[in-house]
Subunit: 494 residues, 2 copies
Amino acid sequence: MSKGLPKRSEDYSLWYNELVKKADLAENSDVRGCMVIKPYGFAIWEKMQATLDGMFKDTGHSNAYFPLFIPKSYLSKEADHVEGFAKECAVVTHYRLKNDENGKGVVVDPDAKLEEELIVRPTSETIIWNSYKNWIQSYRDLPLLINQWANVVRWEMRTRLFLRTAEFLWQEGHTAHATKQEAIDETVQMMNVYADFAENFLALPVLKGVKSESERFAGAEDTYCIEALMQDGKALQAGTSHFLGQNFAKAFDVKFANAEGGAMEYVWGTSWGVSTRLMGALIMAHSDDQGLVLPPKLAPFQVVIVPIFKSDEQLAEISEVALKIKDDLKKLGISVKFDNRKTHKPGWKFAEYELKGTPVRIAIGPKDLENGTIEVARRDLLEKNVMPLDDTFAQGISDLLDNIQETIYKKALDYRTSHSFEVDTYEEFKKIIASEAGGFVYAHWDGTAETEERIKNETKATIRCIPIDQKQEEGKCVYSGQPSKGRVVFAKAY
Amino acid sequence: MSKGLPKRSEDYSLWYNELVKKADLAENSDVRGCMVIKPYGFAIWEKMQATLDGMFKDTGHSNAYFPLFIPKSYLSKEADHVEGFAKECAVVTHYRLKNDENGKGVVVDPDAKLEEELIVRPTSETIIWNSYKNWIQSYRDLPLLINQWANVVRWEMRTRLFLRTAEFLWQEGHTAHATKQEAIDETVQMMNVYADFAENFLALPVLKGVKSESERFAGAEDTYCIEALMQDGKALQAGTSHFLGQNFAKAFDVKFANAEGGAMEYVWGTSWGVSTRLMGALIMAHSDDQGLVLPPKLAPFQVVIVPIFKSDEQLAEISEVALKIKDDLKKLGISVKFDNRKTHKPGWKFAEYELKGTPVRIAIGPKDLENGTIEVARRDLLEKNVMPLDDTFAQGISDLLDNIQETIYKKALDYRTSHSFEVDTYEEFKKIIASEAGGFVYAHWDGTAETEERIKNETKATIRCIPIDQKQEEGKCVYSGQPSKGRVVFAKAY
């Protein structure tokens, strides 16, 4: 009963799209490229938000909120930045509609044209640094450690639910520091926070690294990133953290009086973000042909109890036990849904929660009541067992959830390990990149944008990152034969 | 040390604006009418959000997210709705910028004009009911109980921080029901949730009532509201809950097969929202000439500890005690900031936390260490006491916070009581409305929009609501002398 989900092996892309819709995570709206995040999908995003928000606060950041609109002229103040974002932005030109002359509907009122067009933020560096100019006078005002949860708009031409949408939700951290080193440390710290979140909550192993110049954020000196591998062998950039140098400080004239005598210096900046794209990563990394597989730490509810009954009396008896179970599990911090609907049969419910990735399903029927047992099914391995309903069962479920979280991570890690390759020739390189299995390819590169570009054109593979833990190793570029000091990671990517 | 805050009695409006800025709550951005919510202000909003979100979930609602953009044609589908919002909306007409010909900056690319203009949502009924059309087929899909936290844009010409801004943050609930009664019950329930929140968290007594037809939400059959009274005698609408009838169901053709034989019926709807305007209500209702007064339940931190020291040794000794205090208070769920900065003097800190409304300030100096005491100051009454630092102190602080929450509420309630008047003549009516003290005026009204309009033009007073608990009482309209069955509440309003 997979509710008509296509198989991954047959059409991974279709499988993903169908899964997102059938599991009630999101759907396309009538507005081109903009999605609707449905309640079940949003509940997962809320868990991600809450977790990340706690991690940001633990590292000293506060939340704030800046305007949705950016005056067109601000975008132009940092040259690379405008180059990166001007080509795909939503532009507000008017502030009023009026009734159509023939009385049918409304039209834009030509008399309500804005003097300066406003851009719907694609990212907020410009509007934020324009505020920072007034907030920062002295070294005492630094560091300034701010995060914002917001919607942003980038007018992508080819969109896919969660992975690439015209509007998406994200968080963007924007920090200001007195020294270069402190800003770099912050950049690295936030990459590590993202990696920690990915591994311990998304159950997703990630590579940490630095982007090559051509993959860098528009306006950054360096972009750090975390890169994950999806089940189709393609990479997905799951989070980025940018060292901005003094670029935005210079563009917006943000200076501070230093501690050593009060000389005026430009501030050093960082920015970092993750988005609803993480939903795409989560779905693609773990799910199977039966539907979603959710790590327990991010599941909207971790356990579902399905009663098997033929009469109202049976349901009443089972309910009593089920509510006791729910209560006992709640005491251990486990979230439980008891699905006592009479409108749907148990088989339908089993398929439904399998599709929606509920980590643990408990079924209770009349036989179980007699025997003092429950049937416990784990979603990740599609295994089920009969467990005695005794004093230890709640702890048993708690341990099972921990085990599922670990197992999912381990499976993704094993997959990545078996899909990571060191290659020394361009032939090998092309063979792996072109193969259906795909994967991360560790190869020597001569460090030039030209070679990078040619490889991309010939194979569609891009440099995902220069790993943080890159081994120092003399070698020759797989493409040009020029010397290299270490391998970088190539892959096809989302 | 009021840091130059104007007095309320001299210029209430200026006092408010200055307080919002000096207490680091928010500031105007360079984008007309759009504010920046600063970290301290946003921390209060986050507490409001978390509390309300819990209340929505406790009443069965789930969060979701719908697109920022609304196709122009959607807005027109409900006639009253478009009439209400078309005149003040931000319109996206293009999706790309390009480099200016003379190489200076960027201009809108005329080749990237949208086929249909998009409106930045002023509220989301239209885009949401367009989705509901696909989500609802049968009575089994109902009720549909969804909330969204989002930014919205209404192109207001005269803006004020928090109270009226072009962009603001809010939540909007949108529910769909099988019966009229169920939808009305939901509408009333959410008004009650808002009133509960206002009274128990904002410490703000509110009137519950129904709007007159002319003050109704554009597209609603009935608008329920909560109305609060500010310290300048003006009313502030703090939340609204709309019974939409079948208006949006008809505009977007949302029907369901009923439980009795499956006949197709139009769905009944509600929508309800509160916004960052609540921040304005909070500030204006309680604060004084010294600065903010925050109810403990919404304060970013409830207690601040200020050490009084002359040497590093003294600071070290005090810190040990302070951290113990912080720990003990934390165990009771109390949030504490220990401000051990050496860059600022105790007097500066005292003024700062007074300005920022921290409910309780604890000062510890060398004398206190000797005596085993602390100095405890409550912000609301500007009173201070020396307390022994013994086993009971933490509970004492907890009780004090409860007392502050109650005292603030009581003060606002007393204010409202002493500023509520029953009047029977238009002379009396005009006298009170024109007086500096202002207030709520309970008066008979003939129920016509004409009278309402004339009173508004002559006095600037509007009908705030027809109270839910309106006494049935025969009377004559203060304006027209026509018969009336009960008093309604008039006031000048924000």
